[in-house]
Symmetry: C2
């Protein structure tokens, strides 16, 4: 662990830096696979599934039978846990519905804004040893609430051509329209262009390895929207002497086990707490199944003593963490002052893992400082706002002249003319 004491502001830009990720070398690979899938469709998808996932598939679509089979395989206790998580996530995201906003901006000029669902969305769920069925909940539930017509899920098959049953169970439970056994670059490309069997979508969501990350970036060059740019996961904890060192250590470790490149930071005004957390980490890490991964992330973690709370807050806003835990007597100060964070966890009994699974907030969040300019996934991520306006004859009389003057000043005579014609018609009535 790396320790810092009241680091001067001149050092902050270094301290808040993330590891630079350069994907230039894989971009060409990604682009060539995109080109192949654009022109050859399913044939190319099958080729790369065989190459990367080691399985030759005739059909990518998961059948009704496979879903029924998966339902039998998922343990009751996992189904119950999923039901609870679904309930809290559903409640929190439903509450984010906005109603039509209507304003008569001036007499006779009626303007309103309405949200309409993105009609076709694609959800990418990675495969591998850790089947992220929780991410299925986080993406499919708001997509369903928003009213997306087609919710397409892609997840890579294992060597036997199967997708993890918990993923299938959660997808079916949360209104996913169709599930395809396709992973990696080929999945993102198929969702971007559409193939004979896999539909083209308008927006792609979900996490993935570096190939999926680059593929999503490339997808945007073909007009497909994505949830947000990706980077390694992060946690910053602010804790004072009201925090419980063992709890703080357990949260830092839960972040550290995600990957060797996970970003783990503790900021505190208590040197005693920092020392105790350090000891707790050393104890707790011993028994973890992903100890080696966690150890590498912990080695790069930062323990930062900052004496004054306002300096700490400034530093945290400069860092802009994905996850931000506040364990402080002055929690209200930090709640009100935080400007840049993905999701905030408050108090000794709010571990980050609560938000990862079951509190109801979304776990798809901006990393890499992107909480300065991006929201985490929320209900609005699955819709777009459309504005409407209807102007009465009186309304056009009220604003028509202003439009004519402004259009004229901008040199756009036909814009002016569209109003003049109408105003003249009204004069002649």
């Amino acid at each position: 662990m790396k320790k810092y004491k009241n680091p001067p502001q001149s050092q902050w830009s270094t301290l808040t830096q993330r590891p630079t990720q350069s994907f230039a070398e894989i971009e060409e690979t990604v682009k060539s696979i995109f080109k192949e899938i654009q022109t050859k469709g399913d044939t190319a998808v099958a080729k790369y599934t065989s190459l990367f996932d080691g399985i030759k598939l005739e059909n990518f679509l998961v059948t009704e039978n496979e879903i029924k089979e998966a339902e039998k395989q998922v343990l009751t206790e996992i189904k119950d846990a999923i039901a609870l998580a679904k309930s809290t996530i559903y409640k929190f995201h439903s509450a984010q519905k906005t109603s039509k906003i209507e304003v008569e901006t001036t007499k006779g000029v009626f303007c309103w804004q309405e949200k309409r669902p993105i009609q076709k969305v694609g959800l990418y769920i990675p495969g591998g040893t850790a089947p992220l069925f929780s991410t299925v909940l986080m993406l499919a539930i708001p997509a369903q609430i928003a009213g997306c017509d087609e919710i397409i899920l892609c997840s890579p098959p294992d060597k036997n051509g199967k997708v993890n049953p918990a993923i299938l169970y959660a997808a079916n439970l949360c209104g996913v329209t169709k599930i395809y056994k396709v992973g990696g670059i080929q999945a993102i490309a198929a969702l971007t262009f559409g193939t004979e069997t896999i539909p083209k979508v308008y927006k792609i969501f979900g996490p993935g390895n570096q190939f999926v990350t680059v593929a999503k970036q490339v997808a945007t060059q073909f007009g497909t929207a994505i949830d947000m740019p990706a980077g390694p996961s992060e946690l910053l904890i602010y804790a004072d002497n009201s925090a419980i060192p063992a709890f703080v250590a357990s949260d830092l470790l839960s972040q550290a086990e995600h990957g060797t490149d996970s970003q783990v930071i503790l900021v505190s005004n208590s040197q005693k707490l920092i020392d105790e957390v350090e000891k707790e980490i050393e104890n707790q890490i011993q028994v973890l199944s992903r100890k080696e991964i966690a150890q590498k992330a912990i080695d790069n973690s930062k323990l930062i003593f900052i004496e004054k709370e306002n300096d700490a807050l400034d530093f945290i806003n400069e860092y802009a963490p994905e996850h931000f835990i506040i364990c402080s007597k002055n929690e209200v100060y930090f709640i009100n002052g935080i400007q840049n964070a993905g999701s905030v966890f408050i108090g000794n009994f709010t571990p980050e893992s609560a938000g990862d699974y079951a509190s109801g907030t979304n776990h798809t969040l901006p990393t890499n400082g992107f909480s300065k300019n991006y929201s985490g996934v929320n209900l609005d991520s699955f819709s777009k706002a459309i504005t409407f306006q209807k102007i009465s004859e009186q309304g056009l009389k009220n604003i028509g002249n202003a439009i004519e003057i402004m259009a004229d000043a901008e040199g756009l005579q036909a814009h002016k003319n569209a109003v003049t014609l109408r105003l003249n018609a009204l004069k002649n009535e």
Copy 2:
């Protein structure tokens, strides 16, 4: 004008196609200027300002004196028009404020979502013959309502080193923090990296030529967000025999004068209306100052007869227009059914130019089919949603077991452990 009669659905993908824009050849130029500005700052900005704008500037910052001077130069009638537009835009965008969304998702688990402003935003306003001061209003007003700390505006200087007075006046009126006389690629690069005098921002808004468009795309590769991808402006009108041909023609022409690549489409179930609109266009175009530009766009415009309203609606949703005018007896059918559009204009007295200037809706809208997956600029474009959660001891007892089970099933033991430690502490109490 190109005419189509009940085009079969197999033809729709061709009919809804936009001109493909390939910027590959200028991307290298843009990237090399970015690199130079990243390393050399103001010196490089001055170099490219001299090269592209033909003026050597010592200072890019617009001074208080220059703003005062501009205020004197802007005509009173323009000031009055701006005041009216400011008032309607302010009303409509203020109404978009959302309050904190709070939900107790299950007993003891308190979740909420709050919007926080993006702290630093950059507004780009093109220069040239048509000074787009209306775009200043459309971007600066919601930025100010959202509460952005720094609202930076860049606009290119003319040969005398001045920015158009109406732009300066509008910017000062609408709370822009600082105005810089910098345009083109060098402006976008300066806002992306920051220089000695120009601040780095987190998100860049605004229109521009192909160099600015590519520069904004490149900016995203350095972590800066942008409002939306850009393409040529578009208008699709649905009109039946309740529409007034002269008005419809004037709207099509107001779109056509934007540029030779403007997309202009009329869909109608009345052949008579189509014929009359065609004649009106031929008449009205003669007197336009931008006649040559408009003529080229009109030559490529499409007049499409579609007999059935439901087919027309399907076609329009497939096209996903930036601007959509409805002049139909059945306007409610189209209002309710439109899924993909930037902004919608309803009735004979609602010309598109009303939304461009003074109705109150925003005129920065998704083109090129992007209304399928992007919103136009609105209040939320200037903020991000942050989620918060605070869990009581009882709350953690309620959801803790579900978290443990899910984390375990995903193979994330440290995530489980963060909950187990806390639940054990509560048992021992």
